[in-house]
Each structure stands twice: as structure tokens, then as C-alpha cells.
């Protein structure tokens, strides 16, 4: 089982009476980059949040490198990092302090923080409170937070969202670097061409169900248009 980075079996999650994710089964070999695509409300964010153990699955299960999503939550969390729609930032703390909090709770050194801030081009704003940041700047800081975790599996929910064109390039670079390091990446995005270019595999969701999965190069990009 542990030969797969992600092994999802009949995953399902409901909100009230609506199944946001219904019966999704797929496997991802370690080191691959996977694009998750689908219409608005098709369940991409839900899938990523379930895999990151932010929310529990209501049915089915999945394992990350053999760790069970429900029973070995701590291990899964150590392996996985999530870039979410939520920024996970403290508004009243500065960019630097936010990363310091993350470092303290991760138990890693704070030394890498300036480099990380420079990488996401927030160096000059390091000492400004997040409350004063624009939409894209928040996204960048959340990105730095994810990179700090040095995870084995990275889950990116709309990484290109709100970023400027140099930001797109930054995401592409980071994803390539992660891939080169052997990290597995799952990326939910609406930028199908850009995403497919970066990815090895692709998953298409529709109303919470798996509609198509396969090689990214063969993905029916036009079909969902």
C-alpha cells in the first residue's frame, strides 16, 4: 500500500445533505505532480482539505505514504502541507512573525525565514502586518508557510489565484523544484493549460465524482470548457 504517495479509496464527504465529494478513488505514485480540475463547486477544495486532514472523510478512506488519514492523523500531517483558500495567517502579526509562529510550532529553526520571504518577494514588507497586505501578498505569504514545512506531499488549492504573472512563474518554478526533490504535488486549478504543462497526471472532478483521470498530457482540456 505504501508504494503510493496518495491512495484514496471511495473517499466521500458531505456538507449537510449535499455530497461535496462522493466515491472518489485514485492513486498517486510518489514524486508525481497531479492537476485536479473541475467546475466551480465540483469538490476540488473539499478533496484537498480531506487529504490534508483539515476535515474528516464521511465515507471511504485514504492513505498518504501508507499512513491512514483518520487513524494516523499526526503522521499524515507531518507528511502533508496544504495551501488552502484560507490563508492561515494572523492578521495582526507581521509577515515575519507569522512565519516565526509556524517555525516554532514545527520545531524548526527560524533562520530560513528571511530567505523564504525573499523567495516570495515579500522581503521589503517583512515587518508589515498581514492586515495591510493585498490579496496577492497574502497568497505569497501562505506559500512561504507551505514551503517551510518541507513536506513529502504538497496540496495546492488554486496556487495561481490572485498572483501576478511573475507570481505564476514563481509557482511554476517552485513546483518544478519540489518535483525535482521527489515531492508529490496535488494542485487544484482552473488554469488548465498552465497546470497541465506542470503536471504528470490529471484528475477531473464533476459534482464530487471522479470524471476522468489519466496522464496530464492526454487530459481533455477543452471538454470542460
Amino acid at each position: 500500500m505504501s508504494e503510493f504517495a496518495i491512495d484514496a479509496q471511495r473517499l466521500a464527504r458531505r456538507y449537510g445533505r449535499r455530497w461535496a465529494l462522493a466515491d472518489v478513488t485514485f492513486r498517486v505514485p510518489p514524486g508525481s505532480v497531479v492537476m485536479v480540475a473541475g467546475r466551480n463547486g465540483s469538490g476540488k477544495s473539499t478533496l484537498l482539505r480531506v487529504l490534508a486532514t483539515a476535515i474528516r472523510p464521511d465515507n471511504g478512506n485514504a492513505s498518504i505514504f501508507g499512513f491512514d488519514l483518520v487513524k494516523q492523523r499526526e503522521d499524515v500531517r507531518r507528511a502533508v502541507a496544504l495551501l488552502s483558500h484560507y490563508s492561515y495567517l494572523y492578521e495582526s502579526l507581521t509577515a515575519k512573525e507569522n512565519l516565526q509562529v509556524t517555525a516554532d510550532h514545527l520545531g524548526v529553526s527560524r533562520d530560513s525565514i528571511p530567505a523564504l520571504l525573499d523567495q516570495v518577494e515579500l522581503g521589503p514588507r517583512a515587518d508589515d502586518a498581514v492586515a495591510t497586505f493585498s490579496a496577492g501578498m497574502r497568497k505569497r505569504l501562505s506559500f512561504a508557510r507551505v514551503l517551510m514545512q518541507k513536506p513529502r506531499v504538497v496540496l495546492l488549492d488554486e496556487p495561481y489565484g490572485q498572483l501576478d504573472p511573475p507570481g505564476f512563474a514563481l509557482v511554476d518554478e517552485v513546483v518544478s523544484a519540489l518535483k525535482a526533490r521527489g515531492t508529490t504535488v496535488l494542485m487544484a486549478t482552473h488554469q488548465l493549460e498552465r497546470g497541465a504543462q506542470q503536471s504528470d497526471l490529471a484528475i477531473f472532478l464533476e459534482e464530487g465524482r471522479l470524471q476522468w483521470s489519466g496522464k496530464a498530457a492526454e487530459a481533455p482540456l477543452g471538454a470542460t470548457r
Binding site: F26, N59, L210
Partner: protein, 235 residues
Amino acid sequence: MDYGNNRFPRTPYILIAIGVALFLTGSYFGLFVAPPERYMGEVQRIMYVHVPTAWNALLAITFALVCAIIFLFKGEFKWDARLEASIEVGCLLAFLLCCQGAIWAKPTWGVWWDWDPRLTTTAVLLFAFLGILTLRKFVDDPVKRGVWSSVATIIAYVDVPIVYFSVRWWNSLHQLQSSPETVSSQFYIPLRVNAFAILFLMTGFIMLRARLASLRLAQEVAPPPMLAEEVGETA
């Protein structure tokens, strides 16, 4: 997961019928056979429901605690349903207790309410568990609802004996407690009968209420409509 059985529930109705019968018997003894009390006269007869109500209210809440602990460990929704049912019935009994007590207190003590340990504890218990019932109304997610109300139940339950003792301490310097009277055997029979009557009624109601909660939960936690067609694999 257990969604509660779907048979027609006969047991609770039988229990309730027995409860009503016992209650009528007990009340007959209490109202017509037992002699009036020396100091308080006829009002005192309210004791025959008051004391059994008190016992059973505490029993219901204790059962809620048991449900809460089991739910936290096992996560089976039938325990959540029972938790909800027993808290609700417990609150109802506690509320009735306060009403009966107040009715009794007015002629006896001259006020509707007084701050002695028992009364305070009952009030705190009622408010604490009403709060939990309200909390349940605000949480849509069944798992969260179950976990949170279990946690709150445990804390509230631990709180109640503490309140009891602290109030006793608090009052001990202020005023003397009303002295407990020795209960003679003529009072004893209707008291016992009614205690069992309310126990049966309570159990019946909890079962019915738990069933109702189960039915609602069954919709909330039903498994997804599975796809018949084969699902693809990425590998």
C-alpha cells in the same frame, strides 16, 4: 454505524403505560391514603412527585454522562441520539422540579425561590444543560455536534457536584439549612411507587426521543449514493 432500528417501537409505549399506571396508583396513595403532614398540611403531598422527579432528573443526566463518554470513545451515533434524548428529558424533569418546588416553596417558605444548595444546583444544572441543547441547535455537522455536546456534558456533569458543595459551603455561614425530616413509612410507599412510575415514564420518553433523534441522524449520516460504474485509477 448504527442508525437505530426501524421496527415499530413497542417497548417505550409499554414502559410509558406502566409508568402512567404506577403514577396513578402512587398519586392515589399520596393524595388520599397517606395522612396530611403535621406542619405543612396538604401542600406537602406535592412531595410525592417532587422527590421522585428529583431523583429521576439526576438519573437522566447521569445517563447523559454515560452516553457522552461512550460517544467520545466509540463515535457511534446511537449514543449521540441517546445523549440528546436524555439531556432533553433531564432538562424537562429539572424544569418540572423547579416548578413543583416553587409551588411548594411559596406556601412553605413564603417565597418562590431560595438559594439553598439543592435549588442552586438544580438551577445550574438546568441552565448548563439548556445551554448544551442550544449549542446543538447551532451545529449542523453531526459529528461536531456529537463531540461538542459530549465534551460539554462531561464538563457540566463534573460541575454540578462542585456547585452543590460550594453552595453548601457558601450558605453554611449565612443561614441554616432547612432540617431534613425523617420520612415515615406512610409517606414511603407512594414515594417509592411514584419514583418507579417516573422512572418508567422517563425511560419510555428517552427511548422514544432517542428514536426520533436517530431517525433524523440517519438522514444526516447516510452513506453516499455510490456510483455503479467502475471508477478510474491513476497509476
